[in-house]
């Protein structure tokens, strides 16, 4: 059955067609292959915007749904559709993919250009599918399939330790994924033989508290590795540092959101009682992650690793908002997912620009870059400011919502987590100071300023960061109803704040 235009399928199909197009280009015409990839990703972006416009914020929770039998023997359906959260994340994906394609223009080595861009498009298709699937089995299949293109992207096109990083990434993810497979199977039998997410949420699932805890952990560990939450994060710095710039943006900005998305989509509504029991421990992990990630970011000498560790800290914030079980926290976390993609994306991109110019990712090799390349310097500064959540930039809104949402239910966790903001200022500003200010270093004098392609890469990202910082309401309007119904099974109503607050027009 199809309700409304099958947007999710169409969105997934466009990059797939683009992939075929890229492969069909004769192998000596690299530029054409790149153009096809860019065209396909832009077309996906346009289609996703049309879908977003048609999304009715007051309508059903899941819209543009399709539901067909896929593997009857397992009770598996091809069921897709989006709610507000999924819509926001799909938009984030479709906006970032053309950016990534453009940023990777000169990334692939001679002779394998087609492969690189084909893999990028394959990743986009799979990620859209992951966010859009309403069948647990379909979600799982795509969740695992997602690893393969990224694995090849890191392993074939990455830095010197790419092979180690790619294998570590794959094995970590597979280990978590296989445990989740057990939970998925158990969920099927516990949920009266269905993988249909809507049926499972609507009450098909009747399991005891202990069973809930076991299944919750099966899902949680896979998502915590993917997100990544401390202490499951150790693959991320390696993978992100070795990945080509564009792939790092895709990996940390988009792909890892599947983990936090999974918390919201599965862990909370399907296993509410387990979520309530385990929340304090998970919040503990989040707070440790926030501080640990930030402290390690301060200590890094490699810029890409610094960004990766800062992401560990940010993922701690996102999970904090999710497991606070308040609408504010949940909405903040969802908004944070989107904002983090752009903010970290911007950081990875400017670091990539710097690294290509200098041929090194080490902070010590830089200094005074702003003197010779003022626009580049400005972009580094802006990206760093968004990482430390400067008011007026998008990240501030989400971080504030998360902390405020957490404060109402878990005061001390919020208080300690706030220290993370201070530490963020340290690593972000110190990075700016060492890289673009100070005396001009040898090797930096010859830096040229932002090129035209680079400007096209970074401009949309910055525009989104500023726009969502000033006026996040449209996105919050989309997110809020879905977050409410996601959190409802865990907590029927938000605790009344002792001091009433109204934020971002969200209420």
């Amino acid at each position: 059955m199809t309700h409304g235009f099958p947007w999710v399928t169409v969105l997934g199909a466009i990059p797939l067609l683009g992939l075929i197009g890229v492969l069909a280009v004769p192998s000596d015409r690299h530029e054409d292959a790149k153009r096809v990839a860019l065209g396909a990703s832009l077309l996906t972006l346009v289609a996703s915007i049309v879908m977003a416009v048609q999304f009715d914020t007051g309508g059903n929770r899941f819209q543009f749904t399709q539901d067909y039998d896929w593997i009857e023997a397992f009770g598996v359906h091809y069921a897709v559709g989006v709610d507000g959260i999924a819509l926001a994340l799909i938009l984030m994906t479709t906006v970032l993919t053309p950016v990534v394609v453009l940023a990777s223009w000169h990334e692939a080595y001679e002779g394998s250009v087609k492969g690189f861009f084909a893999l990028l498009l394959a990743t986009e298709t799979v990620i859209i599918g992951v966010f859009g699937s309403l069948d647990v089995f379909l979600f799982y299949v795509l969740f695992e399939a997602m690893l393969i293109p990224i694995y090849f992207l890191i392993g074939s096109y990455g830095g010197p330790r790419r092979s180690y990083a790619a294998v570590k990434f794959l094995l970590y993810s597979l280990a978590g994924g296989l445990l989740m497979l057990v939970a998925v199977i158990a969920l099927y039998f516990a949920g009266r033989h269905t993988f249909d997410y809507r049926a499972l949420v609507a009450g098909n699932l009747h399991i005891s508290h202990n069973e809930q805890v076991a299944l919750f952990l099966g899902f949680f560990i896979a998502f915590a590795i993917k997100a990544p939450l401390w202490p499951f994060h150790t693959w991320l710095p390696d993978a992100a540092a070795e990945a080509p710039t564009g792939v790092a943006v895709l990996l940390v900005g988009v792909l890892d959101k599947v983990g936090t998305f999974g918390f919201l989509r599965f862990c909370l509504p399907l296993f509410p009682s387990a979520a309530r029991t385990l929340a304090p421990y998970i919040l503990g992990l989040c707070v440790v992650g926030i501080l640990y990630g930030a402290l390690l970011a301060i200590g890094q000498r490699d810029m890409k690793r610094l960004v990766a560790y800062s992401s560990v800290s940010h993922f701690g914030f996102i999970a904090l908002g999710i497991f606070a079980f308040t609408t504010q926290g949940g909405s903040g976390a969802t908004l944070y997912m989107v904002n983090h993609a752009f903010s970290t994306g911007a950081l990875f991109l400017v670091v990539g620009f710097l690294a290509t110019r200098r041929g090194s990712r080490m902070i010590d090799d830089f200094g005074g870059a702003a003197k010779v390349a003022p626009w580049l310097g400005a972009m580094v500064l802006l990206a760093a400011l968004s990482a430390l959540s400067l008011p007026g930039l998008s990240t501030f809104v989400s971080e504030f919502l998360v902390l405020a949402g957490t404060f109402t239910t878990h005061r001390w966790f919020a208080v300690i987590a706030t220290l993370g903001i201070v530490l963020a200022a340290v690593y972000a500003l110190w990075l700016v100071q060492r890289v673009i200010h100070g005396p001009l270093r040898e090797g930096v004098e010859s830096f040229r300023d932002l090129g035209r392609r680079e400007a096209w890469v970074i401009a949309p990202v910055m525009a989104v960061i500023v726009a969502l910082g000033i006026y996040p309401k449209p996105l919050l309007d989309v997110i809020n109803p879905s977050v409410k119904s996601t959190i409802a099974p865990v907590r029927s109503h938000d605790p009344a704040p002792s001091v009433p607050v109204t934020l971002g027009g969200s209420k």
Binding site: A73, E144, A145, G155, L178, I185
Partner: protein, 514 residues
């Protein structure tokens, strides 16, 4: 005496139901005759034609009698759903193996020694090798083994089981020793396989004797009814069950009876390894399934704890040892041990889903295995196949298509979604969960994660490592190998994306006919 003779009526034989076995058996005999009487230069091509016709004929016969259900030959053979499904699988795998055996483009002499009796390294051997002599006996041997395999999952009494076991094993012992390259390794493998195989047959036969003593008959169903009555001597039953299981577990390569697998798989000519790794495993699992689902299903409480231990051991041992291998062929051998463990998880489920899931897994796994070993025949250096992992470095740059196909097979073996391996794994794991064996599935998931490591390592070598200087050459596959590989790759993908028709087939195949 006369009275006895008068009482004897010859059992009715359902020739239609037995057609798949008979076709291959007849083809084998015809092949022997042709080998004896044809002039030398015509033999190879004729044999290839007979073998292909025999396997295709067997497959068509299975299709023709697909809806046939009967217990025939005085209860000795049961033509039922699982048997036919497995026979179809085995016929397909047999065909693919024949194609691999028949391909001589990568090595002018084929994968087999010119004459098995020539002493390795002797002048005799060199003379034979340069004369271009070919050993054509491999085809009848292969067909005889295949007929045994087709009979094995259909055998419905203990004697027929034993006969089929020996018919499939004896030619395999010989085939293992016939490699053209590294002949000493190959002959060692044959001797090892023969000795251990003979041991396991003895165990099996001892078990048959005890079970005969227990139930007073040889029929599998008789054992079930006797066990249900519960008035007989249980010691005989449990001992007989254990010994019978040893024989069967040896054939499927389950730990702790797996020690022969790596040596034999490595030493045997690669097309024969492919044949053993796929068709033999399917046949042996077919027999194991029948024995446990028909005779001993009521005794689940007795054997399931042991079977749990065996399955866990098999999965863990296979995965851990595979991680330490540096030879791709040996690594695939250990991986086949691990997969035997995964299929055992489905067997232990002891329900309809477990049976159909195991059937599906066997089909998916068999074809992927044939494909993987088929690729091994293509990567060569001057001494034959280059199976050391380090030699595979950078193969993905040299020939992306072959390396990509191999990567597909490896990902399927690792159980990555959208490949047949995942569907199979999901089928057996979900059956086991519904059969109350969730802890076993958790172990299976952990073992799968370990197993992923060594599959992925090969992909890393092929795609992410710099090519080695004067590395191996990837031979352009001949038509026969290419066909086998293409089918294997296509099935691997189709069963991952649209498995429904084959799952239906497997579902309709259950249950066993008693």
């Amino acid at each position: 005496m006369t009275a006895l003779a008068a009482d004897f009526t010859s059992p009715s034989i359902d020739y239609a139901g037995l057609a798949p076995v008979l076709v291959v058996g007849v083809a084998a005999i015809v092949a022997v005759l042709f080998d004896a009487f044809l002039p030398r230069r015509l033999r190879w091509n004729t044999q290839v034609v007979i073998a292909v016709l025999g396997t295709v004929g067997a497959f068509l016969a299975v299709c023709a009698v697909a809806h046939h259900r009967s217990v025939t030959a005085a209860g000795a053979v049961s033509v039922d759903g699982p048997a036919l499904f497995l026979q179809g699988t085995i016929a397909l795998l047999g065909l693919a193996s024949v194609l691999l055996v028949a391909d001589r483009t990568s090595d002018a002499g084929g994968a087999f020694a010119a004459q098995a009796s020539a002493v390795p390294g002797s002048a005799d051997e060199r003379r034979l090798a340069s004369s271009g002599a070919l050993q054509t006996e491999i085809f009848p041997l292969l067909l005889f083994a295949l007929s045994g395999m087709l009979l094995f999952p259909a055998a419905n009494d203990l004697l027929m089981l034993f006969v089929a076991l020996e018919v499939l094993s004896l030619p395999l012992y010989l085939l293992c020793g016939l490699a053209r390259r590294r002949r000493l390794l190959s002959q060692e493998a044959a001797v090892k396989y023969f000795l251990l195989g003979a041991f396991s047959s003895a165990f099996f036969l001892y078990g048959v004797a005890l079970l005969y003593g227990y139930s007073g008959g040889i029929s599998l169903d008789g054992i079930r009814t006797a066990a249900l009555e519960g008035t007989h001597n249980d010691t005989l039953l449990v001992l007989g069950l254990g010994l019978l299981a040893v024989g069967l577990l040896f054939k499927i390569g389950a730990a702790p009876f797996h020690a022969w697998i790596p040596d034999v798989y490595q030493g045997a000519p690669t097309p024969i390894t492919a044949f053993m790794g796929s068709a033999t495993k399917v046949a042996a699992f077919g027999a194991l399934l029948r024995v446990f689902y028909v005779s001993f299903s009521g005794l689940g409480w007795d054997w399931r704890p042991v079977a749990w231990a065996v399955a866990i051991l098999t999965m863990v041992v296979g995965s851990i040892f595979a991680v330490t291998q540096t030879d791709v062929k040996r690594m695939l051998a250990y991986s086949s041990v691990a997969h035997a463990g995964f299929i055992l998880v489905g067997v232990i489920a002891l329900n309809r889903a477990g049976l159909s899931g195991s059937l599906f897994y066997l089909l998916a796994y068999g074809l992927t295995t044939i494909g993987a070993f088929g690729i091994l025949t293509l990567v060569r250096d001057p001494d034959g196949e280059a199976t050391h992992l380090s030699r595979w470095a950078g193969l993905g740059r040299q020939s992306p298509l072959i390396a990509g196909t191999f990567a597909l097979f490896l990902l399927a073996l690792a159980g990555i979604p959208l490949t047949s391996g995942f569907t199979g794994k999901f089928a057996v794991f979900s059956a086991a969960v519904s059969g109350g064996a969730t802890p076993l599935v958790v172990v299976g998931a952990i073992a799968s994660a370990m197993a992923a490591f060594f599959y992925v390592r090969v992909i890393v070598m092929m795609f992410f490592a710099e090519p080695v200087v004067d590395g191996p050459v990837v031979v352009i596959p001949g038509g026969a190998t290419a066909a086998a590989l293409a089918v294997a790759a296509a099935v691997t993908v189709v069963l991952g994306v649209f498995p429904q028709p084959v799952l239906d087939l497997a579902n309709h195949a259950v249950p066993f006919l008693r």
